[in-house]
């Protein structure tokens, strides 16, 4: 089976704490977040709300974010939307190696 591909997206300093950053890799549009405890998370930059919109501009709290357009409360670790709303955002793994930050993308089809 093909392996996930690790794509370098920049240096640690390119990503501010508690503020989302949009990363585009080909067709992927990804929102990268750094939490106050040093965690790195990457989600599809697309709210699961049926009317759509980006997630990069969300307010970050703990390991969750609040969707900037309609305030959906989304868990960073698995992209699950918390009640009373429903939905899920696809997540990606962020790999930090020294100063280099990378994202694991699924194997190419």
């Amino acid at each position: 089976m093909a392996k996930e591909q690790l794509v370098r997206i920049g240096s640690v300093d390119d990503f501010p704490m508690l503020l989302g950053k949009e990363v585009r890799i080909g067709d992927y549009d990804i929102a990268v977040f750094r939490t106050s405890d040093g965690g790195w998370y990457a989600l599809d930059n697309h709210t699961p709300h049926k009317k759509g919109g980006p997630l990069t501009e969300a307010i970050v709290s703990g390991h969750t974010i609040y969707c900037p357009l309609r305030d959906l409360h989304i868990r960073l670790v698995d992209g699950r939307v918390m009640g009373p709303d429903t939905g899920e955002v696809r997540t990606f793994r962020v790999i930090v190696d020294g100063d280099a930050v990378g994202i694991e993308l699924p194997p190419e089809a």
Binding site: I9, G62, H73, T91
Partner: protein, 816 residues
């Protein structure tokens, strides 16, 4: 994991589908007692099988319908084996055998292997191009065939068959539905509804062969057609078998567990073997094998409770309700649908609108019904059927209109007379029924609780009074309304005033510090309290450094986010006055950045819509105009009429006064957005009556009106004061704004603030008490010395531009 593995019970789930995973999800909410292993035959995580028709139709991708990602299993400590087949269980030694793993020991075992399409046992059924419609793999085969071949046949005119057929028609195939019976969906619809359905689907391009039996599939290696009992042949290069499902019982049967059409279970979902359970489409309960999703969830909930030690939980069967998922065709059926002698039948058919509604009563209770053409009442009807609700005048009126010549009567004001199905919260589609149910079931007593559970009042808040009335109606004396102490958000029990007092008394200076010192329940707060605290800090300490991570997007990026993620740019035009030169510059910039729309705002400004985030600082730099603050909780605009400069009726120079006030108060943070207007005469062309602060000139001076609102809550402004000179006008305006800044709750508009604070109190504080007034003015003057144009600040700050506005672009080829 809290406890050592050895102490924990081992739960093995066979089947990684919706029913089984639903058990696990419910169980995880109840207990942490189990080490869970899931064995799935398909090579995917759990997905929403019901939405496969959307995948086929093309409106969703496979990724969209994944329910539980691999991370979910990992995060919950669940071991997942995909692509593994369970062969049998040794129910004495409590071991599960598979085709490739070591035998797995269990303390509890759940079979939830679902079902598979019933493939007709006819010659040719094994040919290439013959599929069921069950899993992602089938879906892929169908999509591939649609790209290559033209003709398809779907055997089975039930729910699944019709959805498959519609999906294939959408992919450009010529599709014939072949049905053994004379009417479609005969397990859910009566002949009337079935005929309407057939006609509507024919109009959408489906073809039908009714009452025919397929005896053979013909062709070479790949199927080329169907032969019917009468010898006729129908050409097809793709044949979808949707003639029913067959429960997957083999591993259970091989283990010596009692099986009929499905694995037999009792009301606690136990099979004939100890500690072995079954749920979903593979089990048979009280002689029924369910093929729809709602019963699976009901079974899963009961089993989860059982496993968590609740011996009371029982499953006594489900009322089956069905909704066809084909766009443009609304069909719903619940419970009993064929009228018998014992039924009282209520029917309404409208052949012009193509709607049909039928409700069956037994002994006065609702036992089933069909909705065709308009299924708006489906949720409500399903509830009534499930609860066997007695028909009464209200329900009758809700379903069949209130009589009279014009159908439904006009809505009644009283909550008691309000229909349960009536939408209370229009933004989020929450009905009165949902709200009353939430209040009763959960013992809610506050609007916030209702909001969290149902979403009502969450968006525009316009329905808050109705929700309050519903609380009052349901709880009676037990509802204390606003008197009950509520924190500003679920993170704290402290009120706005307590928080502001604590910040002042304890001299707190950072959002985090406030949350920490005041023992926030959620360490980093939420989208409600963080922006609020940030505002209070800035209001109390003008030198407070703003915390962008606690700002809503619009105020962080100084532009209005639009629904597509682009932004709008509104430059400041004091008093709504511009010049040809400025307009040319704006036009050139709009061209250069290809903005999607140039629009005049309600506040007499120009809005450039559809700007990407990365372009914002560049546009601001080129405009070289101040920010118009169209996004901010601050002074938006001062709307002006032409006034005495040009207008023959004008008594005061409203434009000059408007510009002066706008320049004075711009950029200052306020609890909510703040709109002003200045009019040169009482004709009031700039609409002072609906502004936070509206000023009307007359021959002898000015009148100041406050607390007006033209938005969500239409409110006419109250007269605050009449003054003779421009100086007095500015002084009282300053004092009022500062009083509102210091006493308003974050997000509270002046219209609500005036009512809460009381107009008399406000007049005393800002007009009559001169000493207080001059202190308010001194404080606002101090605050105004700290404001800065955010666009200029951003344009000249490389770090902010990079961190907040730039996107990381990586070429797909640039791999490590």
């Amino acid at each position: 994991m809290n406890r050592k593995s050895a102490d924990r019970k081992r739960l093995v789930l066979v089947g990684n589908g919706m029913a089984g995973i639903s058990v696990i999800e419910q169980l995880l909410k109840l207990t942490n007692d189990y080490d869970i292993t899931v064995i799935g035959g398909e090579p995917h995580p759990n997905y929403n099988r019901i939405q496969l028709s959307y995948v086929l139709e093309g409106s969703k991708t496979i990724d969209d319908i994944i329910l539980n990602s691999m991370e979910w299993y990992r995060d919950n400590g669940i071991t997942l084996h995909t692509g593994v087949r369970v062969t049998q269980a040794d129910t004495e030694r409590k071991l599960v055998y598979t085709d490739r793993l070591e035998p797995l020991p269990y303390d509890a075992l759940i079979f939830a292997m679902g079902s598979r399409p019933f493939i007709l046992p006819i010659p040719g059924a094994d040919k290439e191009g013959v599929v069921g419609f069950r899993d992602i793999h089938d879906c892929e085969i169908m999509l591939e065939a649609a790209a290559t071949y033209r003709k398809a046949a779907v055997i089975g005119g039930g729910l699944l068959g019709l959805e498959a057929a519609k999906g294939l028609v959408g992919k450009g195939m010529d599709v014939t539905v072949v049905h053994l019976m004379d009417t479609l969906m005969e397990r859910q619809l009566d002949a009337t509804a079935a005929e309407m359905l057939k006609a509507d689907l024919e109009a959408q391009g489906l073809k039908f062969r009714m009452g025919v039996k397929t005896t053979e599939l013909i062709g070479g290696a790949r199927v080329e057609g169907l032969r019917f009992e009468n010898g006729e042949v129908l050409e097809a290069q793709l044949v979808v078998m949707a003639a029913g499902i067959k429960a997957n019982v083999e591993p259970a049967a091989a283990s010596g567990i009692a099986v009929r059409r499905g694995i037999l279970v009792d009301d606690s979902l136990r099979t004939s073997a100890p500690d072995v359970y079954a749920v979903g489409e593979c089990c048979e309960h009280r002689e029924t094998v369910y093929g729809l999703v709602a019963p699976l969830f009901e079974q899963a909930a009961v089993l989860a409770k059982r496993l968590a030690g609740d011996a009371e939980a029982v499953y006594e069967g489900s009322t089956v309700a069905t909704k066809l998922k084909i766009s443009g065709v609304d069909v719903f059926s619940a419970g009993e649908f064929q009228e018998m002698e014992e039924h009282t039948v209520l029917k309404l058919q409208d052949s012009w609108k193509r709607t049909y509604k039928k409700v069956l009563l037994r002994d006065g209770a609702i036992v089933g019904g069909i909705l065709y053409g308009n299924a708006d009442d489906s949720q409500q009807l399903a509830k009534w059927v499930k609860a066997n609700t007695l028909m009464d005048a209200d329900i009758h009126a809700a379903l069949f209109g209130g009589g009279g010549c014009c159908g439904k009567e006009k809505k009644l004001v009283s909550i008691a007379a309000m229909d349960d199905a009536e939408i209370v919260c229009g933004c989020n589609g929450v009905t009165k029924g949902t709200i009353t149910h939430a209040i009763r079931e959960n013992g809610f007593t506050t609007i916030d609780e209702v909001k969290m559970a149902t979403g009502a009042t969450r968006s525009c808040g316009g329905c808050k009074p109705v929700v309050e009335q519903i609380l009052q109606y349901v709880l009676g004396d037990r509802y204390h309304g606003a008197a009950k102490k509520e924190g500003i958000c679920p993170c704290t029990d402290l009120s706005r005033d307590e928080i502001v007092a604590a910040i002042r008394d304890k001299r707190l200076t950072h959002v985090r510090e406030v949350m920490h010192v005041l023992h926030w329940k959620e360490e980093e707060g939420c989208s409600k309290c963080r922006p609020a605290i940030n505002y209070y800090l800035g209001m109390l300490w003008p030198e407070h450094e703003d915390e962008p991570e606690s700002r809503f997007v619009n105020e962080r990026l100084h532009a209005n986010i639009q629904k597509d993620g682009t932004f709008s740019v509104i430059p400041r035009m004091y008093g709504g006055v511009t010049s040809p030169k400025e307009l040319r510059k704006i036009a050139d910039i709009a061209d250069k950045y290809q903005v999607k729309m140039v629009k005049l705002t309600g506040g007499q400004r120009i809005d450039l819509l559809g700007v990407t985030k990365a372009d914002l600082p560049n546009i601001w730099a080129e405009l070289d105009m101040p920010s118009g603050y169209g996004y901010a909780k601050a002074l938006r605009t001062v709307k002006t009429c032409v006034g005495s400069m040009f207008c023959r009726f004008g008594t005061q120079d409203s434009i000059s006064m408007g510009i002066e006030l706008e320049k004075r108060f711009e950029r200052l943070d306020m609890p909510a957005k703040f709109k002003m207007a200045v009019n040169g005469c009482p004709r009031n062309c700039a609409e002072s009556g609906i502004k936070d602060l509206g000023i009307v000139g007359n021959d002898g001076g000015w009148e100041l009106y406050v607390g007006g609102n033209g938005g969500t809550k239409l409110r006419k402004a109250d007269l605050l004061s009449k003054v003779k000179t421009d100086e007095e006008l500015i002084a009282i305006s300053s004092a009022f704004i500062q009083y509102y800044r210091e006493n308003g709750k974050y997000l509270e508009r002046t219209s609500d603030f005036i009512e809460r604070a009381g107009l008399e109190t406000v007049i005393r504080a800002v007009v009559e008490n001169e000493e207080n007034r001059s202190q308010l003015i001194a404080r606002i003057e101090e605050a105004l010395t700290h404001v800065q144009d955010p666009w200029k600040k951003t344009v000249h700050n490389e770090t902010v531009r990079r961190q907040l506005f730039e996107t990381v672009e990586v070429a797909p080829a640039a791999k490590q």
